[in-house]
Symmetry: C2
Subunit: 671 residues, 2 copies
């Protein structure tokens, strides 16, 4: 590349873009790790976007109607940090840039949501950002339809790399965006021909332009270093009814000795090469020094949106009080005041009527109560609507001609659904939930982990949660998936035993501010076990005594979900033989773990033998079985130690030995 020509053609632009490149080189050098090449390659695109198009105000980073900028290629985090610093985000100080990738800094190796303002989502695991962006754009459509253009009218911009586009999740994302004509979604593809292993062509020769067009996208191809072409492309993209992909032909590590090579992808720390690159840029200041006029020009960009933001605030002030309250409440992730009362009323009704239904059906019963009073919920399913019971009568279906619709047919795309739900939650104003079979947690895993890491309350409705699924067989029967979700930090895994517990679990999931929930629900019918109405949400304690021992307490049976009924029957068998048996329902291990030790001891006192029953692998149960702090009881587990099989559910429970008789026998063998 002839950098001199580039610089001379547009010196103002050049100096601003160079500031990004120089900060990137300096920060990566200081950290002695990181990814230099991508920010250096995409600096021009980002500069034009921020200077001419992105609607934002660095001094009001949470302004709800800001455009969203998502760095799907998260390894290029220094691009984002440089932009935030240069435009004047207050928390993104030069000190933070200097402490790139160090303990306690907000400038982590990959952008971490919550670390700094302006980081709209955590990226790094490739393809997640572009899939989040579908949720952002859907949220914008839904909220615009609900509140009007005066309050909601913004774009979602994404920078994606070759890695994002190779990951399968990107296909799920672009197909969804194309299906729903998300015209306000604009993706820049950093088309630099390079991956870590070498040329992209080593592993891929997909014609991305044709691929995106096949998914109903507008595609614009430009030179990613030409400010005029970049500007024109964004201008064009903004008027499209289809989502737009702007293919930006760029040079990774522009101007560095490693330009256009896979070495350029990583940390460029050689001092002589750095000096040569800076000289080629015409950049003469020292490390981390941005010339005053350049910084000033960037700060002007950061302030460019202030007027527009104030105008928005004025419009917001003019909205009805009710709208303002609803808008703000949803943004703050606050549940409506009447949620608690509605849940209590349902619990009371259920404990009286005592229906025998599958907990997936219970979940639908709860949603029928919740959705009408929580306009911020958006439901959906990965093509299992009738099985997941996620669609209630009032939601309406989100579509190109019904942007107010609150139900999304995600198609057979568990991963894309989960990531898009995360995007909705991150956008704010929406509380998303979506369903699939528990076993397909596997497909959604990367996004479910990110919900936990980002501390957002996405709700995953996972039905058919055991061998109780029956004939579909072991490919569809989770055995390890409760353990998988429970192993994940900051995740609530609810496995309610009946409709009452399901209502309690939903209440917790819908009032959570920082923790995602997995609702593990049965396919098969279960009895209502909570027959005595309690105002208190017992599930909030994680575990509680459902039925205490009569006579001397000799055994405690712990269980979750569909196995609580088995535990209760085992208790009947044992009590008939004079063996005092307590049954503890444990719908949420994480919440029980969070209780004071005194509470845990009251529920699980030392002394009696302990047996746990769950139609899943035992991993995760040992700590409750062995007793805390080393004071172990004699204990046993009744569950699965292999994959399932294809047969009717009741046959499977019998064949795999998960029965009241087996639990009673296990208890007796330990006494």
């Amino acid at each position: 590349m002839d950098l001199t020509a580039l610089a001379q053609a547009n010196p103002d632009h050049w100096s601003k873009a160079t500031a990004i490149r120089a900060l990137t080189l300096d920060a990566v050098h200081a950290a002695n790790s990181g990814h230099s090449g991508m920010p250096m390659g995409m600096a021009d695109v980002a500069t034009v976007l921020f200077e001419k198009h992105l609607k934002f105000d660095a001094k009001a980073p949470d302004w709800p109607d800001r455009d969203r900028f998502i760095l799907s290629a998260g390894h290029g985090s220094m691009l984002l940090y440089s932009l935030l610093h240069l435009t004047g985000y207050e928390d993104m100080t030069l000190e933070q840039i200097k402490n790139f990738r160090q303990w306690g800094a907000i400038t982590a190796g990959h952008p971490e949501y919550g670390h700094a303002k302006g980081i709209e989502t955590t990226t790094g695991p490739l393809g997640q950002g572009i899939a989040n962006s579908v949720g952002f754009a859907m949220a914008e459509e839904i909220l615009r339809a609900r509140h009007g253009r005066k309050l909601v009218d913004h774009y979602t911009y994404v920078i994606a790399g070759d890695g994002c586009l190779m990951e399968g999740i990107s296909q799920e994302a672009i197909a969804l965006a194309g299906r729903h004509s998300l015209g306000k979604l604009i993706v820049f593809w950093d088309n630099n021909d390079i991956t870590i292993d070498g040329k992209v062509s080593l592993s891929d020769r997909t014609d991305q332009v044709k691929r995106f067009r096949a998914a109903n996208w507008q595609v614009i191809e430009i030179d990613g270093h030409d400010p005029a072409e970049i500007d024109a492309a964004i201008t064009k993209a903004k008027t499209s009814k289809k989502p737009s992909m702007i293919s930006c032909k760029t040079h990774i590590a522009l101007g560095h000795a490693a330009q256009d090579t896979s070495k350029g992808h990583g940390a460029l720390t050689d001092e002589a090469q750095m000096a040569a690159a800076k000289a080629a840029y015409g950049w003469t200041t020292g490390p981390f020094e941005v010339p005053g006029d350049v910084k000033k020009a960037w700060e002007a960009i950061g302030a460019r949106g202030a007027e527009e933001r104030k105008a928005w605030e004025a419009r917001f002030a003019e909205a009805s009080e009710r709208r303002r309250k609803d808008f703000t409440r949803a943004l703050k992730r606050e549940a409506p005041k009447n949620l608690s009362a509605r849940i209590k009323a349902l619990k009371k009704q259920i404990s009286e009527e005592a229906p025998k239904v599958a907990t997936r059906k219970s979940s639908e019963m709860v949603l029928e109560v919740v959705n009408p009073i929580m306009p911020e919920t958006v439901g959906g399913s990965a093509d299992l609507t009738g099985s997941n019971n996620t669609k209630t009568g009032d939601l309406g279906v989100f579509d190109t001609d019904n942007r107010k619709g609150r139900y999304i047919y995600w198609g057979i795309r568990e991963h894309g659904m989960a990531a898009a739900m995360n995007g909705m939650a991150l956008h704010g104003g929406i509380r998303p939930y979506g369903g699939t079979f528990m076993c397909f947690t596997d497909y959604a895993r990367p996004a479910m982990r990110l919900a936990a890491l980002m501390r957002i309350p996405t709700v995953f409705v996972m039905t058919h949660d055991s061998i109780g699924l029956g004939e579909d067989g072991p490919t569809h029967q989770p055995v390890e998936h409760l353990a998988i979700s429970r192993a994940t930090p900051n995740t609530w895994v609810f496995r309610p035993c009946d409709t009452v517990e399901t209502a309690e679990a939903w209440e917790l999931a819908l009032t959570s501010k920082e923790t995602p929930s997995v609702l593990s629900l049965t396919r098969q019918n279960v009895s209502t076990l909570r027959r005595e109405h309690k105002m208190k949400n017992l599930t909030a304690q994680g575990a509680y005594v459902l039925a205490d021992a009569e006579g001397k307490r000799q055994a405690i049976i712990m269980a979750t979900g569909s196995e609580v009924e088995i535990a209760m029957k085992a208790r009947d068998l044992l009590q008939a033989e004079g063996i005092g048996t307590r049954v503890v329902s444990m719908p949420c291990m994480e919440l029980f773990e969070a209780q004071d030790e005194a509470v845990r001891k009251r529920v699980l006192p030392a002394g009696p033998v302990r047996v746990a029953v769950e139609a899943a692998v035992s991993q995760g149960w040992d700590k409750w079985l062995s007793g805390e702090r080393g004071r172990a009881a004699k204990s046993g587990f009744v569950g699965m130690d292999s994959f399932g099989a294809s047969a009717p559910a009741e046959v499977l429970y019998e064949k795999f030995g998960i029965t009241a008789e087996a639990v009673a026998e296990k208890v007796k063998s330990l006494l």
Copy 2:
């Protein structure tokens, strides 16, 4: 559809295809569950494929050079079972068909590999089959290049549904197939416009023809009920240098009242409607009855390949003894005789030289020894070759002009890689291994689970296995992934502490016949701890005493991987204070669990306090900490209870408290 016209146009074809439809209806009716519509819709395509093209011999189902037929849309299992029964596979009796989806039957809800001959892979989780097929086709290319067309020359046929094509993994698969011009891969798309939730258009409007062409596929569009069009399309596909996708416009549940509806996807059990459908087909026999002439015609199809198979056997007999031995050995998943000696020699050398290297580097050292003597290994990485250390000097790179290459640049496609590796293992003759970061186990999970379920020894090389990854931060730092893999039945999770254990782990992984392995390897350097050479593979015991207590044994520290060195240093600290401390290295919990109780007791005797240290969540450790059979020791765990952070590795170990000092303190607090 005018069924009469279809029947009259080609009565021989019609009766054969109708046999599939009728058996499907009868089996689903008997099971009262299942998926009728897909087999009914794709019966014509399958009939033409089996009658005119598929190279197979029902009486020799394991013939190595048979064409492979993969039902990616696995819910349509009755299509496959019908074909196997009709063509005369001996294990697929009518009794099995009648017992569809029942306990003990080989006719599971979805096709389960190993249940019946002719089931080439387990399908049901959508998109897996089409991704497996890439591995099948690569395996065929590699083995053809190595052994010549006389011994290896077959096609891989796939039936994929809309669900397969919506799943992201399908994009990874088709991009790989297109990149590598896998011309002998032929995919039929059951283009029926229907998913469970309704019309495909509810969730997808992708132009699949353009999408496949963008990935370098030949696409042929046909009427999926016209035998002549089907035949012509397959004929054309077979001569293509590109992979072929045949878009088959079909009617789901053809001829049934539920035709062309989402209801038709599921179980069609209404007796009157079944009778009406059979009448429309002109099918007059009773349930499960196939007219003698039709069965005979199908059996002739099943025998059609016998001559070709015999000719192949004759050619095979003419091959050199060495080739025959190698060919057969690899197919039987038997390691070469000298593997054990080579591993022992490496262990001896390492225990003397005691290098301080990362175990990912250790892994490379092992592969440098193994790959030259195991021509069946095929390595690769999801674009992290230099980080995963999976490429050895001798492998050569698989490409269109180097089909003998044994290293595959998978691109940023962890899921596609894992599924394609499964396909290679299933094809036979190949022992695949592939690498990514441990954290991206998440992306590969659905395929890793299937390897375990199918009992195939795929090897997953997962490097950067803890916060020791350092600056890339929590998105790239596994904390729950050891627990996730350990929770999965039939999976060996190896976390070796040094090069010696890494060699032992590889030996076990490479001699495994039925269990996949996860190799959890460090980014950071670790010391060689096994300084005394032992011929015996100690890792095979799962856990063993690395250093025993001096003096009275008061404590046992258990650890894996990089934390074993920390455990050893903690032991030094404790022994210096006179506290006798045993260190147990536990490189594979699953193998330890499989030992006799006596062995486990010898390693972990009752009495001493126990502390485990692993830079991961504690889930899975409790059973070793609490003591077996309820005889608990006082115990503690040093590890992670949150996600990681971005900082240098040594800082993270310090900040998260995973140090020798912390372990020693934990022990002392328990004494």
